[in-house]
């Protein structure tokens, strides 16, 4: 008997290890974030002013490279690296703003829908079904065709693409959380709906929203650059990874570098965000960790 108890005693707490799975992929993301914030100080040249004499110069390690233009210049003689750094600002600001808007609206709708259930919930569930039955790029095209391309329109459109996932997941979480004893106890004590939602339910679901938002920022960076690539997003001369690729695609034969680096930037940031998201999700839910490893 005493042996059994000894076996069930909690193990001695292990020293905390550095969570490399989350830290390593976060490095490029943080680097790009820092570069975006520090753009005015670290960009070697102006992102918009080009010299026609310095058109289509290759990156530093090739012949005919121009000093001070490490990644070469584009068709208008603008520094590719500087446009990348300033473009990071534009892409990240749009992606974070759209994610925040979409996550806030979606989570609120999910909270209300899951907590109140009934008719509102049925309408919202149908609405989610309908939007999921609609390729997002098409919706974006329809709206931007009429509203015209601009950064505020882009943020709203991308948020429209993001709210559904948040609403769906928050709703299903709240549906089960609202039956828990501590929530029922709060109801019995006479707590009002806002207090229950924001004091008792939101703290519980916040980690899930954060994980979802991490993936969303990556997804939205790709969507934004896609729309900008189609000419429906950020408009020239504002530097943006997507719209720079739109220009670069036209003369990719003459200058591989203008088409390569913005795409690499997108890929590295999105890859980093996805891996950080994976690590956060695994830390949150041991079950998925077992499954995905």
């Amino acid at each position: 008997m005493s042996d059994a108890i000894a076996l069930e005693a909690p193990p001695v707490a292990k020293p905390r290890r550095i969570p490399w799975a989350a830290v390593l992929p976060a490095i490029p993301v943080v680097a790009v974030l820092v570069a975006a914030v520090a753009a005015p100080w670290i960009a070697p040249a102006s992102p918009t002013a080009g010299e026609l004499a310095a058109r289509l110069k290759p990156p530093a390690w090739q012949e005919a490279a121009l000093p001070g233009r490490p990644l070469g210049t584009d068709l208008l003689g603008r520094d590719v690296l500087s446009r990348l750094i300033w473009g990071a600002r534009v892409s990240l600001v749009i992606a974070v703003a759209a994610t925040a808007l979409g996550a806030a609206v979606g989570s609120l709708i999910g909270l209300l829908s899951g907590y109140h259930r009934g008719r509102v919930d049925r309408v919202i569930t149908k609405l989610i079904d309908i939007q999921l039955a609609f390729p997002f790029v098409l919706l974006a095209i329809a709206v931007i065709a009429v509203a015209g391309p601009s950064i505020p329109v882009l943020v709203v459109v991308l948020a429209i693409g993001a709210w559904v996932a948040h609403a769906r997941i928050v709703r299903s979480l709240v549906l089960s959380l609202r039956e828990r004893d501590y929530v029922q106890a709060a109801v019995a004590l006479g707590a009002g709906t806002p207090r229950i939602l924001f004091r008792h339910l939101v703290p519980e679901i916040l980690p899930v929203i954060v994980v979802l938002a991490t993936f969303d920022v990556g997804r939205i960076i790709i969507l934004e650059s896609t729309l900008s690539f189609l000419g429906l997003g950020v408009q020239p001369p504002t530097p943006s990874w997507g719209s720079d690729l739109r220009d670069a695609a036209a003369y990719v034969r003459q200058a591989w570098w203008t088409a390569t680096f913005p795409g690499l930037a997108i890929m590295i940031v999105v890859l980093g965000l996805n891996l950080v998201g994976d690590a956060l999700r695994d830390a949150l839910d041991p079950r998925t960790r077992r499954m995905t490893r």
Binding site: A133, I141, V146, T226
Partner: protein, 305 residues
């Protein structure tokens, strides 16, 4: 099964109505189409005339009814640029889009299923790490950049395949790879997860204990049960594929609906944008219905939910 089919059909009808409504809302409430169709220096009179011609001077409910009845008859007005019905123009290009999307789908499934299965069977070993690295990188790569890089390497440097246009199978390869890679990555990851989950279950152990060969256990027992989430993903993600087709068509000058819709935005050919978006959305709804029915056939439990 009949009751299940009827329920899915009703659901699809409702979703279709919702999708048509969504297009109406997106197109009518995000600005004044007449103003975005005319050049900036158009007179007030011209604007009023165009608004009347498009029916924009009527009340919103009246416009909605007109839009619905037009959509049912396939009447979206004439293209300003091509002087022929917008719906016909879109239908002409639909086969090209479907060809591209299906090629990408087939390619993705053919590559990703074995990849996911092998990764699950060799969990934690080199094959798994390689397969999942491919999947993770594939998911982080935007379609359009992948397309540009493929053109740069395969068409320009190596001169193996044509850069653009539609013709024989040689024209199809690069666009299909571009569109399919992202999708293949998602399928591979999910197949791996689903297989791992199924392989740990009792019926697999039973099958092995019965003395069935490993090939039979994996293909007949495990894969059939792992297929349900994979089929769902393929169906749900088909919309992303149609959306990606818009981009892929633009890069490779593939004469499909997506490219037509995007070009029409820039020449303000509004009826064509409307018809193109709606037709692609309805194709997607139709595919979803097919997936749902297939799903019911694969897994009897779903029919009775």
């Amino acid at each position: 099964m009949l009751e299940f089919v009827v329920r899915r059909l009703l659901h699809t009808a409702l979703v279709t109505l919702g999708v048509v409504t969504l297009v109406f809302v997106a197109l009518r409430l995000s600005g004044d189409p007449a103003a975005s169709m005319l050049p900036g220096d158009a007179s007030v009179q011209e604007l009023a005339d165009l608004r009347r011609e498009l029916g924009l001077d009527r009340s919103v409910p009246a416009q909605y009814v007109a839009f619905l009845s037009g959509a049912v008859r396939g009447d979206f007005g004439d293209s300003f640029r091509h002087q022929q019905p917008a719906f016909g123009l879109v239908l002409e290009r639909l086969p090209a889009t479907l060809e591209l999307a299906f090629a990408a789908l087939v390619l993705a499934v053919v590559v990703a299923l074995p990849l996911g299965i092998v990764a699950a069977l060799h969990r934690g070993r080199v094959a798994d790490v390689l397969a999942m690295s491919f999947a993770v990188v594939g998911q982080a790569t935007p379609y359009f950049w992948m397309g540009i890089m493929l053109i740069l390497v395969v068409s320009v440097e190596l001169a193996w395949l044509p850069t653009s246009g539609r013709g024989g199978w040689r024209h199809l390869i690069l666009p299909a790879v571009t569109l399919g890679t992202h999708f293949a990555a998602a399928i591979a990851r999910l197949t791996r997860t689903a297989m791992l989950e199924v392989l740990g279950q009792n019926f697999v152990t039973t099958a092995r204990a019965k003395g069935l060969g490993e090939r039979r256990v994996i293909l007949a027992h495990a894969l059939k049960n792992a297929a349900v989430p994979v089929v769902t993903l393929v169906g749900l993600q088909f919309g992303t594929l149609l959306g990606g087709a818009v981009v892929t068509e633009t890069i490779f000058a593939w004469p499909g609906v997506g490219r037509l819709a995007v070009q029409s935005i820039f020449v303000r050919d509004y009826p064509v944008v409307q018809a193109g978006v709606l037709v692609l959305a309805l194709v997607f709804v139709g595919i979803n219905l097919l997936v749902d029915l297939l799903y019911g056939a694969l897994d009897p439990r779903i029919r009775h939910e």
